[in-house]
Structures are given as structure tokens and as C-alpha cells.
């Protein structure tokens, strides 16, 4: 009988230990940028994992069952919003059977809530216009000022869920904000050389970045969002590059290279891959590091053209 009691006690203790979170709140984010900002704000009070990796196209993540497992254990799910994850996040939340993170629950946070969204379509909308986002362009974290806004949104949510550590989250937010604001000022000084620089982009990924860095996107390799450019469209892009003296064709690591290479070869402009997320390249492992890499690459394009 004693053995049975010991066995039951041991199993109970193991089960209890397994049920306890290793470090405070368990946070699952959809993107590595949101994970990086959450880590910066939450510090050691949170355990953060990201569903997407930095090298992946955030529109096209597979809803793998292992992600369902992660979401099932989460106290908080932070997502980018603006329908960026519409093709896969609902499957993860539905499959996770976790009432804490269902839409409308306290543990569900749309990070775009306080962001000033651009390119929100007005008028009639249908899929003949390509893969348009009805709520506006979702790539807002490519403007570092939005990263600061999102950090505040995240800090408020962490404080709401874990009031005991509110001071820690406020301290984390203040530190992140101070650091980012100082960096933004320095980056803006360096970016003066790219002001009004004409470029062609593969997809509508860089609108927030161009609005902040003040370079001009004159055209897109894609004919419409999500629709590859036809030979006729590529020819018109090449002509426009000549007309407006564009300096580079920019894209993310996951964008198809063929059309970009064709354009770069036929116009002799630079084919530039920019990191679009934390983790997209070696060394880009924090949110500030993402912009260090982007700013360096953009200024190199401008300086290269002047030589």
C-alpha cells in the first residue's frame, strides 16, 4: 500500500512539475520580430517562442501541428494582425484548444492595435487586384518607430496578465524605448544619403521602411501583390528604371530571385536582399540589429551609386 502511495505521489509531483511554466508567462508570437520585442520588454519574466523564422515568408507559413502544441501551452499569443497570418494562425488557435488564447480572450494580442496603418484600401476590393490586405499593409514593423509603439502595447498586455511583475515590464519598456529612440536618431542621420533614392521593390514589403527612410519605391517586380510579373510587366519595370534612374531592386530572402536577377542584369542596377525580419540573416538576432543591417545595406547602395 505504501508503494502505491509513493507511486501516486511521485506521478503527481512529476505531473505538477510538468504543468508549471519554466519561466513566468509563456508567450508565443507569430513573427520573430514580435518575439524579439517581447523578449526585450519581458526579460526573464517571460518565455518567448516564435512560430515563423526570419527567413520565411510570413504570408505562407505552414500550420504545422507542432505549432499547435506550442499555442496549446501559451498564456499569451501575440500576432502581427492586418490579416498577415490569416492563412495559418486560425488553424493553430482552433487546433490548440486553449481557451486562454482564443480570439477575444485576455491571452490574445493583436500587435497592430496602436499602429498607424498605411495603404488601407478604399473603395471596392476584390481579388482581381491580387493578394491585397483589406485592413492595410501589414509590414509595419519595418518602421522602427512602430517597434516602439508595439513594445508599449506588449508591455501593457504583459502587465495586465502578470501584474506582480508590472514594474519589470515598465522598466523593460523604458529601456527598449530609450535605446531605440537613440538608435533611430543615429539611423536617420545615416539615412540622409538615401533620401529620395529611387528603387524597385519585389513586393509591397517595404512601404513602412521607405516612408521612414524616405527612399522612393517607383515600381514593383510583382504585377500585383502576390502575382509574379509577366514578361511585359518586367519590360515596363526595366523601362521605368531607366526613366527614373533607379539604383536598386530590393527584395527579401524568400522572394523569387529570377525576375530580380533579370532586371539587375539588364539594367546594371544593384540586386539587394534586405533582411525583412529578425533572424533573416546571420547576426540579425535582435530588433535593433535588424535595422542596423537594413540601414547599412541601403546606405551602401547609395554610396555605391555615387562612386
Amino acid at each position: 500500500m505504501k508503494r502505491i502511495h509513493c507511486l501516486v505521489l511521485s506521478v503527481g509531483m512529476v505531473a505538477l512539475a510538468a504543468a508549471q511554466p519554466a519561466f513566468g508567462l509563456r508567450v508565443v508570437t507569430t513573427t520573430p520580430d514580435l518575439a524579439a520585442i517581447t523578449r526585450a520588454v519581458g526579460g526573464s519574466q517571460v518565455t518567448v517562442s516564435s512560430i515563423a523564422l526570419g527567413v520565411q515568408d510570413l504570408h505562407k507559413i505552414e500550420a504545422k501541428p507542432s505549432f499547435i502544441r506550442d499555442v496549446s501551452k501559451a498564456d499569451l499569443v501575440i500576432f502581427n494582425g492586418l490579416e498577415l497570418e490569416i492563412g495559418w494562425l486560425p488553424l493553430l488557435i482552433e487546433g490548440a484548444r486553449n481557451p486562454k488564447v482564443r480570439p477575444g480572450s485576455k491571452g490574445s494580442l493583436d500587435a497592430s492595435t496602436d499602429v498607424k496603418v498605411i495603404e488601407k484600401p478604399t473603395g471596392a476590393l476584390d481579388r482581381s487586384q491580387g493578394d491585397v490586405h483589406p485592413d492595410g499593409n501589414p509590414h509595419y514593423l519595418l518602421d522602427p518607430r512602430n517597434g516602439v509603439i508595439v513594445a508599449r502595447t506588449i508591455a501593457q498586455k504583459l502587465s495586465e496578465l502578470d501584474g506582480a511583475n508590472r514594474a519589470e515590464y515598465e522598466r523593460g519598456l523604458a529601456e527598449f524605448t530609450r535605446d531605440m529612440n537613440a538608435r533611430i536618431a543615429r539611423w536617420e542621420t545615416r539615412l540622409a544619403v538615401v533620401q529620395d533614392m529611387p528603387v524597385v521593390a519585389y513586393h509591397k514589403t517595404w512601404e513602412y521602411l521607405s516612408a521612414w527612410a524616405k527612399f522612393r519605391i517607383i515600381d514593383y517586380v510583382e504585377e500585383k501583390p502576390g502575382i509574379p510579373g509577366s514578361p511585359r510587366h518586367i519590360a515596363s519595370v526595366i523601362k521605368r528604371i531607366g526613366d527614373e534612374d533607379a539604383l536598386a531592386v530590393i527584395g527579401a530572402i524568400y522572394d523569387p530571385r529570377k525576375e530580380r536577377e533579370t532586371i539587375a542584369r539588364r539594367t546594371s542596377i544593384a540586386d539587394v536582399t534586405l533582411p525583412s525580419s529578425v533572424g533573416a540573416e546571420k547576426g540579425v538576432d535582435t530588433y535593433p540589429a535588424l535595422f542596423e543591417a537594413i540601414v547599412s545595406r541601403l546606405t551602401q547602395v547609395s554610396e555605391g551609386a555615387r562612386r
Partner: protein
């Protein structure tokens, strides 16, 4: 002049109320007419061209809608899907289908609970039973134009779809492990055949998915259904095993690959049906896929089996349209092989929910 005056007055009488109405926007509070909470609506359509030799009578399941022997151009199927949260507690998902151009039926209609204890899921309604990988699919998500022959033979032309209650549980394993158990009305025509309300059908599934790499998963499942078959005076039982290997490169826009196989064995009293399929799909470029597969079935009480090989090439311009050209070589009960060519256009309009992994 009088005519003009009358005309102006008449126009004024018509336009005046319209302008007044626009000035005072009609409130849904007063009219009771609002569309903000309408469900997400989508429509899938399958248009098919079928050409080739072979007679309808040779098919393992006659008059099957999926394996329809009709030649020429046809609307194969249309599916209308409505999805919305009813309230904070329930989500409803209803799919109406029309095979050809006549008759609309409820293909699947479920209400799922949103406030179950952590780890549990509950849904009820008309459910495409979670048996293996292919049975839960709707026609527009089939890898090939028709379903595997063994599913037609064992479950009938529309697969196994029952009025049921289904409980699922995510097991606390280091990998994804899910068990499902369901109780159904037991009215599948091929398997159950019982008029008595107390003769229910039972279904179970255990699915395990392992991440072999960040790019690759291995999905292994075991399924079973059972229920009373009054006509045979016995219990019908079907068991199945399935295995799927999926690969998707992290950042390349092509190179996705799927390898899938499923084996099914059914018995009603002493009469047995067996069969299965194996299939491979590979994305050769951003928009083009190639795929091939074989399947076989020995239907209930048949003296021999049917075999089929299929090869297809698919153009996928966007996630909302697919044009598929398929060759099928069908050999029924040792007779000569029949050759068939099919061309299927699959389109989706509206807000269609994402497909499960």
C-alpha cells in the same frame, strides 16, 4: 413651359425623398437590417472535362458522383461554405454542396464549442468522419480528381459523413499527439444499414505528427469505425492506417513535396473489403506541381480487385485557383486497362478558411 414645370416638380417629388433618406442614414437599430455580423462566405467550384474509354458498369461503385463515368464538360461540384462565431461559446461551420447542377445537400455542418477545458475539443453536427487523411477532405481539396477507390467502396460515394458528436484531446506528449472519439447516427448506407435509433456508429482516431526537421514532418495515424449492420446481422468494422511525409523549404518558393499512403480494411460480418493508395506530389516551380499515385480496392464480396494509376500536372496561379490535367489508367478485375484524361478547374471565391495541415 407648363410641361417643363410639371417635369421639374415630378423629378423633385422623386428625388426629394431619396435625398432626405440619404441625409438621415437608416439605422439598423430601427430597421433591424444589418450585415456586419454575416458569416464568412466562400464558394468553391469544380469544372471538369472527362475523356477516354471505359463503361460506367465497370467502375467499382456504380453511379458514384466522384467517379462519375459521364464524359464531356460538366460542373463536377460546387460548395458553399458559411463560417462564423455564433457567440463567445460556439462556432458554426456549414458547407452545402451541389453535385452537377441539381440538388443541394448539407455536406458538412458542425457547431464547435469554444470554451472547453484546455486540451479538449468538441463538435457536433454532420461531420466528415476523421478517418485517415482523405475521408475528411472536401472535393476541392482532393489531390486527384476522384477519391481513392477503397473509400468509395467502403464508405460510398460521399465518403463517411455522419450526424455525430466528436470529442478530441490533445495529449501532453513531447510531439503532436491527438486522439478523437465520436459517436454517430450510424446511417452510412454501405456500412451500417440499421433502422433502429439505438444502433449507433463509433469512430476513433489517433494522430501523431513529428517534426523531423524544421522543414519536414512525419504524420502517422490510426483510425477505426464500427457500427451495427442490421441487414448482415453483425457489426461492421473498418480500420485504417495512414502515413504522410511533408517537406517545405523554409525560404524557397518551390520544392514542396508530399508523400502519402493509406491502408483500409473493412469487414461486414465475414465479408471483407481491403485497399489503399500511395501518392506523391512535388512542386517543381512556384506555380507548377506534378503528382502521381496508385490505388487499389477489393470491394465487399468481389472476386477480384481494381487497380488504378494516376499522374497529374497542376498549374496553381494563386491559392484561389488550380488547373489540373490528370491521366488515369484503370484496371477492374483483371480486364483490359481503361485510359482516361481529365481536366479540372478548381476556383475559390470569397473568404474561404485555411485548410488543415
Amino acid at each position: 413651359m407648363r410641361v417643363y414645370t410639371c417635369l421639374v416638380v415630378a423629378i423633385g417629388l422623386i428625388i426629394g425623398p431619396v435625398l432626405r433618406a440619404r441625409a438621415h442614414e437608416a439605422s439598423s437599430t430601427a430597421t433591424g437590417i444589418a450585415n456586419r455580423f454575416n458569416p464568412a462566405i466562400s464558394l468553391n467550384s469544380l469544372i471538369l472535362v472527362r475523356a477516354g474509354a471505359g463503361e460506367a458498369e465497370d467502375a467499382p461503385v456504380e453511379d458514384s458522383e466522384h467517379a462519375s463515368p459521364t464524359r464531356g464538360l460538366m460542373v463536377q461540384e460546387s460548395e458553399l461554405q458559411l463560417t462564423a462565431f455564433a457567440d463567445p461559446y460556439l462556432k458554426a461551420d456549414f458547407i452545402y454542396s451541389q453535385h452537377g447542377i441539381e440538388g443541394i445537400e448539407l455536406e458538412e455542418g458542425t457547431v464547435s464549442a469554444q470554451t472547453m477545458p484546455a486540451g479538449f475539443g468538441l463538435r457536433l453536427g454532420r461531420i466528415k468522419t476523421e478517418f485517415g487523411k482523405h475521408n475528411p477532405l472536401h472535393s476541392h481539396a482532393f489531390p486527384f480528381v476522384e477519391p481513392p477507390m477503397i473509400l468509395d467502396s467502403v464508405f460510398g460515394e460521399e465518403g463517411l459523413s455522419e450526424i455525430a458528436v466528436e470529442l478530441s484531446l490533445l495529449l501532453p506528449a513531447p510531439w503532436y499527439s491527438e486522439v478523437l472519439a465520436g459517436v454517430a447516427s450510424g446511417d452510412n448506407e454501405v456500412l451500417f444499414h440499421s433502422e433502429r435509433a439505438r444502433d449507433l456508429g463509433y469512430a476513433g482516431r489517433w494522430r501523431n505528427v513529428f517534426d523531423l526537421r524544421p522543414t519536414t514532418t512525419l504524420d502517422i495515424g490510426l483510425s477505426g469505425v464500427a457500427g451495427r449492420n442490421e441487414e448482415a446481422g453483425a457489426t461492421s468494422r473498418v480500420v485504417g492506417a495512414d502515413l504522410t511525409l511533408k517537406h517545405k523549404p523554409l525560404s524557397a518558393v518551390h520544392g514542396k513535396a508530399v508523400l502519402q499512403g493509406e491502408y483500409v480494411r473493412a469487414n461486414v460480418a465475414d465479408v471483407v473489403a481491403t485497399g489503399g493508395y500511395g501518392a506523391a506530389q512535388y512542386q517543381i516551380t512556384r506555380r507548377w506541381w506534378v503528382q502521381g499515385g496508385f490505388d487499389w480496392a477489393t470491394p465487399f464480396g468481389a472476386d477480384g480487385s481494381s487497380q488504378r494509376i494516376r499522374a497529374a500536372v497542376a498549374l496553381v496561379p494563386t491559392e484561389f485557383s488550380v488547373l489540373k490535367a490528370q491521366y488515369s489508367g484503370n484496371r477492374h478485375y483483371g480486364e483490359d486497362t481503361e485510359h482516361e484524361l481529365l481536366l479540372q478547374l478548381n476556383t475559390t471565391i470569397g473568404a474561404h478558411p485555411a485548410h488543415a495541415y
